[in-house]
Symmetry: C2
Subunit: 248 residues, 2 copies
Amino acid sequence: MPQFRNPADHPLIRKLQSSFELSDHERAAVLALPIQSVEIRANQDIAREGDRPGRSCVILRGITRTYKMTRDGKRQIMAFHMPGDMPDLQSLHLKVLDSSLGTVSACRIGFIPHDAIRDLCDSNSGLAAALWRTTLVDASIFREWVVNVGRRDGYQRIAHIMCEILVRMREVGLTDDHSCPMPISQTELADATGLSAVHANRVIQDLRADGLIVLKGGMFTALDWPALKAAAAFDPTYLHLGEGRASD
Amino acid sequence: MPQFRNPADHPLIRKLQSSFELSDHERAAVLALPIQSVEIRANQDIAREGDRPGRSCVILRGITRTYKMTRDGKRQIMAFHMPGDMPDLQSLHLKVLDSSLGTVSACRIGFIPHDAIRDLCDSNSGLAAALWRTTLVDASIFREWVVNVGRRDGYQRIAHIMCEILVRMREVGLTDDHSCPMPISQTELADATGLSAVHANRVIQDLRADGLIVLKGGMFTALDWPALKAAAAFDPTYLHLGEGRASD
DNA sequence: CGAGCTTTTGATCCGAGTCAATCTTCGTGG
DNA sequence: CCACGAAGATTGACTCGGATCAAAAGCTCG
């Protein structure tokens, strides 16, 4: 069980602390969770629609996606997940998985038995609330994605998702100024925005031509962050980051 | 404070019991919540994006919608809510409302202070889990809506949302066979499916012409339920209704 | 009974999908 | 170190679902 020198470096602790003050006792309780850590290659399913998992996972490294396939073979990605996220935490209370979960990049994934999480929640209502809250933020992001896909054109959609990814990457310390690694393919961006891969590509070229982004070699840079945000009509409120403080 | 003869008639109790077994003690605890009940006309906001509410609401009668307006004045509805639903329960843990909530039809709404809900959750982890679960089902519905709007054409989208509404209406006892009241306007259906009102209307006429639905006089009937489900590729798994049992 | 929605219809236009081919990139094995 | 194959990115040509605009017709309710 590979560990982190400083508990605060553990992605899950980091995540929970970003919104809740954790006591030493609570931190210890989280670190005491039995986590089975596994390395998974890129583009592999972690769990599938219809499964009835007895555990949830936490992302320790890498990026994953939640998606569904439609009858006629189209794919819709509903979410990307960053280190610290628990992408299938909902299975703690919803028996059947309603969507599939897979890796985007190569990942290190930690699996935690539901029983352990339930015990934790039963014995500590503060941690229960913290975990609950993370699922509420996920839901808020889904709502924004409904708006993105339902009411914005291709240019805005791609701009918006790039904004979101950058801000969330920053939250987990993976950005360098306005740049971050971008293991997500254009096809995946298309499937996340309800566009075809061809059109997504054209829109990306437009964003480049307009000097808003650089996207190449697995790296993304928001060349002109204010302009990109404006093009996307991006308002990060829905991410509910550090809600007490002001932030950009 | 108008009450229900039988506690099991209380929409909130009903809702929680549909997935969790409640003990007498838990039922009593829920009924003891201080609920301020208010009558609200159709088409009125209950809470707005940006608000920081100190209470959440439960729908006692009528239908509400969660929505956002985009910069350029377009509206996207992200959810409809039925009696028993708590459409802004997320505000218990997310300080700022990221979307607006308003009535579709005239409604009776019960307001419950966050403090009361928090106390309930702190003292009863089972009820906390039950409430948490309702927000997880909401999230699952958002995911399905992303798919609906992102990867289905207009005909399927409208068919799908009609299926969802009928099934959820049935869940709360508002259907008569395959019919239910339908206070939702075509414009609202359009805003919920990412279509224009004109196109939504045309699609609805197609569904009528194909003998799948009847929609008039504030009433909806699924004339040919199997065919409607098939046209929508509707799989109710995502609603997580009575998950132990089989259901149609 | 009239104002204001909601629903409907017609005409026109465009964003985005589809199909098909080519070009890049990159990991892998020889 | 390079050839090869597979996946990802790009380009061009063509088509179409659905948006927009405009106006008429039905409803509902104060």
